[in-house]
């Protein structure tokens, strides 16, 4: 089982912290930057949707590939272009995937890619299939006002497409999952006061406490389940929530900075697309050679966490 390829597409408009400072003169952006660590983010235009970004990412991935052998697509998003029918069917049509392929949506956020990967590997193994796509796409910025000091400096719009194959070198798994539905209100969509688009609400301390208390335990559980030591992991790809979150995880788990992947500064937090984008960039940076053990940990909205090991 292996990840055979990854491609991604970011939204076309770049928004910097300096621009947010101009729009919000009362913000202390120096303090914000110190905590969040994000210089610039990608913001979708009205024409760009999760589906359009997902199609672009998948088209890059599948350029020149034989699409008739793709057995399915798992589409991860929390802002679907269509509820009925499921957006995965629209994606299936736009990509020209074969009729025998499964297609369904998964409504998960920051833990969504690892959820998608677990479903893909289970279906490939359980159904004797060959290859499938996991596409993660999100445009949270459509639900965040430029004056929202909590969410606007963090979230970014983008999509990633990943090809998972049953045959080939490497291994994907095991997985661990954590859910705390009592924290659901910590990150949610709220109806707009003036009847516009619903607005994202985040209780920063609430989400942070979930991360601080549950990520270290989940990492230890995963290592135990896999029979692997922390030092055996070559690269940690945590959800790129913000600098403060990654710094805290690093401190708590005593992870070597050299083994920690960070790309939030130039990308922002693209929700479920974050981990596959990070994986692609890690590969481009030469940090994902053959025989490496990589830990993926997605966490956030839900409150939800999913983690797994990938052996390249």
């Amino acid at each position: 089982m292996r990840i055979a390829g990854i491609a991604y597409q970011l939204a076309s408009k770049v928004e910097s912290l300096a621009e947010l400072q101009t729009l919000n003169p009362d913000w202390r952006v120096d303090q914000l930057y110190e905590k969040v660590g994000i210089d610039k983010r990608y913001v979708s235009t009205p024409e760009e949707t999760p589906l359009s970004l997902g199609v672009q990412a998948a088209e890059k991935l599948l350029e020149g590939a034989d699409r008739s052998t793709i057995d399915g697509v798992v589409y991860v998003t929390q802002t679907p272009d269509s509820l009925i029918p499921t957006t995965a069917c629209l994606l299936h049509a736009r990509l020209g995937l074969p009729g025998h392929a499964f297609a369904f949506d998964v409504n998960q956020g920051c833990s969504g890619f690892v959820y998608g990967l677990s479903l893909a590997t289970s279906l490939l193994t359980g159904q004797g299939l060959t290859r499938c796509l996991v596409v993660c796409a999100e445009t949270y910025s459509k639900h965040i006002a430029v004056t929202d000091r909590t969410c606007r400096p963090i979230f970014s719009d983008g999509a990633a497409a990943v090809l998972v194959e049953r045959e080939g070198p490497g291994r994907i798994g095991p997985f661990v999952f954590v859910t705390d539905g009592t924290g659901a209100s910590s990150l949610t969509l709220r109806p707009a006061e003036a009847g516009g688009a619903p607005q994202l609400y985040m209780d920063g301390p609430g989400v942070l406490l979930f991360t601080m208390s549950r990520v270290p335990r989940a990492v230890k559980d995963l290592l135990e389940k896999a029979g692997v030591a922390l030092d055996d992991v070559d690269l940690f790809v945590f959800h790129q929530a913000s600098r403060v979150v990654l710094d805290n995880i690093k401190r708590t788990l005593k992870v070597d900075e050299a083994k920690l992947f960070r790309n939030y500064q130039e990308m922002g937090n693209t929700v479920s697309a974050t981990i596959p984008i990070a994986l692609r960039q890690a590969e481009e940076a030469g940090r994902l050679g053959p025989g490496r053990t990589v830990m993926l940990v997605g966490f956030g909205v839900g409150l939800s966490l999913a983690a797994c090991l990938v052996r390249t």
Binding site: K35, G204, P205, G206, L209, M212, S213, P216, V244
Partner: protein, 79 residues
């Protein structure tokens, strides 16, 4: 650790003078103690108390010295 140590830690996390964080200090009395400031406070306390703070229920809304110290005392983390 005692209550004075906690107050000192809160002052450092919020980057305010120590005298500003008295027994009655809270998000109502300190401008720096907003949601970002609270994140700094939680991280500082969790770091100092061996990662035992994050799992305490009620900590995310402990927006005053009295509530914070009370919760930490309840869990045997402060004298």
């Amino acid at each position: 650790m005692n209550a004075d140590d906690v107050k000192k830690m809160i002052a450092e996390a919020l980057e305010v003078d120590a005298f500003e964080v008295d027994d009655d200090a809270s998000t109502e009395t300190l401008e720096a103690w907003d949601s970002l400031g609270h994140i700094n406070v939680l991280i500082a306390l969790d770091g100092a108390l061996d990662g035992k703070v994050a799992g305490i229920e009620g900590m995310k809304k402990a927006y005053s010295v009295a509530t914070l110290v009370g919760l930490l005392r309840e869990h045997g983390l402060v004298d």
